[in-house]
Symmetry: C2
Subunit: 319 residues, 2 copies
């Protein structure tokens, strides 16, 4: 039984120009997950320098994979990495999924792209300058639960126009530098809180340390416009697709935290799951578990897949 | 000839309570630098979650090592890591230095402390919860030069009171999450600029992506007070020690960028070096190379070592 599958990507194929022919079996080499495979002189270790994506593979179906790989391409462009070849990454992910053989139906998939060996070190100086790629599927780690969450809001320290003014801060890129997210999670853990929602110094809602937030007002589902400098949520787009299929309304907007707090219901979305929120900053929210289960089921069975690819903010955005 | 020395720390000794007896040779195991030694499931790789220090070892003398290890202890406390045992780390560093045998007199020393295996992964779940430690000495990578630098200023996106208001952002901790620093360096590289200086949205000087800034006004050397949420510079403290030894004055202050620009001379300090600045945002500065060489010489030969241990900001600080 193989409950953890790890592969080392073949970067010459994974970053080959779009349209390059490749043998799918050559895109990734499966290796022993228990062994070390990363150099100390890799920039992921030295500088948290790289990008990643994570989702659930539900009974063999990688949830939102296309949107995850599109976002990986966006993160690569924002961080000056070579462009990932989406077809080759898709083949590599499939090879990892094919090797998984465990009764757990929803293992976590993680795609890691490091900038590679640090060329300013002696070890890295003469190595390939291609990124390092690792992809794993893990059915033996902590998996998502639908238990309704308590949340608090935390300042992210930035104003809502920071991304327009200082793009070098990489807001909106999914980098490996997650020290602040980890710190926020530890803070929540100490206080017995499930997770946090970040907001700007001028009072607008951002995102959670490793997830997105969706607010429900009657029949309308609202999420912060990613152009404020947050990730374009993948599970959030699946949820919007579900809402549209159900005849409900969706909206991207610059969302004041005060307005978020006035929602009828709140949802944290990430990694192929929509998780209900039962409390934010001490205020209680309705939890409709049958609806939550319906959204997750729609996402996991591929019902929202096609429509989710078309969803995103549109029109002008005022910073 | 061994120009690159890498060791894997013995975390049970390196995080033992202060005063615990240990065999210095057991503090670290020297390994092949060309081989991979890090798990994909280590939090340094997955989340840039850890802390580090870097300095120069000049002819066998690790510059500012005590202040680097004190700062490592501070970063560990800020990030909820166990307290590093400074004596054991000192022994481990010495073992790495003893194994170095190369004509290059000034290799770079790096001390990396990762939070260790991610306990939420299947591979990490049953592993030690102690941090992972790697220490290396590298005489074959890019080494520091004293060539005067051109610099630009870049907004860090934060106001000067962010650290008081949002300590979970970890400003002032030297974490492995350096994606923004790397981004700023790439931006400088594209523009043909040597390095950058970060400032707050309300116009105060912070630090450089991986160094500190010192301004000279006549006989007074000034640097931003680290309580604004920046690192307590190690080489900067050596420079202040040199200045005091030479009968000059030193000052920590909340330093407006506009005032920094009015300096007679500017210095970027890091990793055991003081490097002169010849231009900031297009304005030219005096470069006194004999003085720069004297400061570096004082630091490298240990003349400023004792005094540097006593230097730091004092009194109240207004956020």
């Amino acid at each position: 039984m193989t409950g953890i599958v790890l592969g080392i990507g073949n970067s010459s194929l994974l970053f080959a120009p779009k349209g390059t022919a490749f043998d799918p079996s050559e895109t990734i080499e499966l290796v022993d997950p228990e062994a070390p495979h990363v150099s100390v002189f890799d920039l992921s270790v030295l500088r948290g320098d790289g990008i990643f994506e994570a989702t659930t593979v539900w009974k063999g179906f990688p949830v939102s994979l296309e949107n995850h790989l599109r976002r990986l391409v966006t993160s690569a462009a924002m961080t000056d990495l070579p462009e990932p070849n989406v077809d080759a990454f898709t083949a590599a992910v499939q090879k990892v999924i094919d090797a998984y053989d465990d009764p757990e139906p929803g293992p976590m998939l993680r795609i890691l792209v490091s900038r590679g060996f640090d060329p300013t070190t002696g070890v890295g100086a003469n190595k390939s300058h291609l990124p390092s790629v690792w992809i794993f599927l893990d059915g033996k780690g902590l998996l998502h639960e639908l238990t309704p969450l308590t949340m608090i809001s935390l300042s992210r320290g930035y104003a809502s126009d920071v991304t327009a003014k200082a793009p070098w801060l990489l807001n909106g890129a999914k980098t490996l530098s997650y020290a602040i997210s980890q710190s926020e999670h530890r803070l929540c853990g100490r206080r017995g809180i499930g997770d946090s929602i970040q907001y700007t110094t001028d009072g607008f809602t951002l995102e959670c340390p490793n997830s997105s937030i969706v607010a429900q007002y009657g029949d309308t589902f609202v999420t912060p416009d990613p152009r404020i400098g947050i990730l374009n949520g993948t599970s959030q787009r699946e949820m919007f697709a579900w809402a549209l299929q159900e005849g409900k309304k969706t909206e991207y907007k610059k969302l004041p935290l005060a307005e978020l707090r006035e929602a009828d219901a709140l949802f944290m979305t990430h990694g192929g799951w929509v998780i209900p929120v039962r409390e934010l900053d001490g205020k209680a929210y309705e939890v409709d578990m049958p609806m939550v289960e319906a959204v997750n089921d729609a996402m996991h069975t591929g019902r929202t897949r096609e429509l989710a690819l078309t969803i995103g903010p549109s029109g002008d955005y005022e910073f």
